[in-house]
Symmetry: C2
Amino acid sequence: MSNPHKQMILGAFIPSAGYMSAVWRHPEAQSDLFRDFEHFRRAAQTLEDARLHAVFFNDAVNVDADKASLGGSPTSVRWDPLVLLPALAMTTRRIGLIGTASTTYNEPYNLARKFANIDHLSGGRVGWNLVTSLGGGENFNLDAHVLHADRYARAEEFYDVVTGLWDSWQDDAFVQDKQAGRFVDAQKMHVLNHHGEHFQVRGPLNAPRPVQGYPVIAQAGSSEAGCALAARAGELIFTAQHTLEQGQTFYRDIKQRAQALGRNPDHLKILPGVSPIVGRTLAEAQARYDHQQSLLDRPAFLRSISRFAGLGFDLSELPFDSRVPLPLEPADTNGHKSRQKLIVDLIHRERPTVRELFNQLTAGGHRILIGTPQSIADDFQAWFEGGAADGFNVMFSGLHQGITDFAERVVPELQRRGLFQREYQGQTLRENLGLPFIANRHTL
Amino acid sequence: MSNPHKQMILGAFIPSAGYMSAVWRHPEAQSDLFRDFEHFRRAAQTLEDARLHAVFFNDAVNVDADKASLGGSPTSVRWDPLVLLPALAMTTRRIGLIGTASTTYNEPYNLARKFANIDHLSGGRVGWNLVTSLGGGENFNLDAHVLHADRYARAEEFYDVVTGLWDSWQDDAFVQDKQAGRFVDAQKMHVLNHHGEHFQVRGPLNAPRPVQGYPVIAQAGSSEAGCALAARAGELIFTAQHTLEQGQTFYRDIKQRAQALGRNPDHLKILPGVSPIVGRTLAEAQARYDHQQSLLDRPAFLRSISRFAGLGFDLSELPFDSRVPLPLEPADTNGHKSRQKLIVDLIHRERPTVRELFNQLTAGGHRILIGTPQSIADDFQAWFEGGAADGFNVMFSGLHQGITDFAERVVPELQRRGLFQREYQGQTLRENLGLPFIANRHTL
């Protein structure tokens, strides 16, 4: 019982492409989500009505498919979260708005500025999910994707530059004294003069300080470099953890790392991802899930997972109910390190059949919770009270039904148990998350 | 009478910093425009009610002032147009939304994507004002601003990459056949594979084709390189012209250049900038103007203009009603070439007093029209029917009164004369401007 008196944080993952995996084929799936904003407006408003803390959008800066494998993929085109966020700032009032943006394929000045602006636009509701991207070099003047270690070194410095730029102006710098003709107190402007390994940025930023001091920083890297960055800079930590024990270990590890760096461990909120499939009965939930799975191109998915995780064999060529052979340890690839390791570990630990592995992995490596509002609430409660989570990043598939089921059935059950808020606690995302306002370094 | 049966185009310049020059000191000026979106929402809605074609936002990617001269400037912080546009897409329904973005300090993939997304968000109402920026290198890993010639060479290639990326997917590529499991027709995806002097971009873009084919391209460069780019790529041409004759010369020149490149000259719309000061009588308008001018820090403005235009003497040290001496020809500086030349030419041509020059230049180099709705409409009509303009970029100062005066007094006068639309002509900005949809190069 690490948090006996607290309530859990719930974020909502909404795919920026519109859909997760094959859900676009569902009879109830609306077409054209990649160019129809109405879906996003409706989803965010439903989740705001249910008092979720934030909506969260993933991103990618390339099309990761060749013509041969492109046909069935709904993720070749997706919304830029930095376009969705200002639009949602206008169409919601209280819910937090968290967008993914790459430190590898942006310039810190441009990103610092946009997040500062969106924080004002939304009244202090914005968060930045800082990622180094899984690919994209080919679209940014490079022959290949930047190497993992270089990406994280750049990310660390990128974070320093962005936060330094956010402190360019003290919060009270803009005096706007009409009589004296004094718009700004120049003594409260601070030039950054950053000269680093990756960046040379003078500043000041041409945007006022964000409402929240800094937007909330989310981080999802689970590699060694990713955990180090999360411990230093992360405030919301998204993670894929499969068992309660794994969750507890990760939770303790990240909080201890943060504490070792002098941070208050309560100022990092650990949110494992879960994909809920809700039914009135377990049988109804299971049937919904089975239907969703039947929409997948199973051979294509298994081939792609085999390649992605570097298993050394092709899962699609094995009988579906046979046990998966033990793979080699993952090679040192330049992609999504922690996810590859997760798959290999899972095979070693659980010795699943191909079917079992398929079902686990189709949720993008996250846990799938198939059940009733009660059983899902039980699971959330066990993780939350068991010290494995400060809350959850609830992953939605793109079906509006999935969002309303969660909002109208699971959330009330959590509220009834006293585990989830019935009202927002403050005005800004920081206030709602129990995170402190960040004071300007120049006023300390 | 070059356009006897057509109606003029009216765009509205709204400063992204909130205010033009010293207007923030006006008793009616609202404070905090740089962080209060409400002003922009209200301005855009008022102009939409008046059926203006578009609102237009300028930009800069640095703070162009040292601590000593910073105090009185309201432009050190400003909204990023790429944040304003998505927000205005939600709060307006018909008016075009044109944002400035730099080709010097962005990557083409990121910009192509955002404009494609915003075009969908707004139902095809977006435009991109392509600029090379007046400064900013110090914030983007450089020791100084990129040189003028290099900026324009990069801009030309940037335009090619962005438009190539917009053609990544044919308009009907996303078949979304649920039964067949076919989301996209891979044959309708096109890889750009650009290898140029400044950029190496493979593509495809991870965004669907813009609603308009391409967003409307606006261009404001008036240097030789700027005119060449405008003639090749520009569709809305913003320009500063002081006399009807100058306007006619510029109009003919750009249209002829475009024609020489094989373009239809009707597909470039020339919009000189004008700053209207409207009164019920000329005396009332003049009083309003005089009040506005009295808010300026005259010595600071004159010093800054002397430096900017490289006059070789300090205007602030001359008696206010004395004639300005003849300056040297402008040195080959790396800034706003056409504006510098405009100031020097103006001194040579008009031999103004310091007061006259001050009054002309405080409108940012654009014409100031002080008058009644009738006299302002007379001027617009003379330029429009005299072959000097397809319409105007009407420059507002940040006072809401200035916008409502124009919308509620000048626009009805133009409509009464049959010179301006009473209703939008189509759905997209292109349709409203009489510009054609741009077909995908791969479907031709």
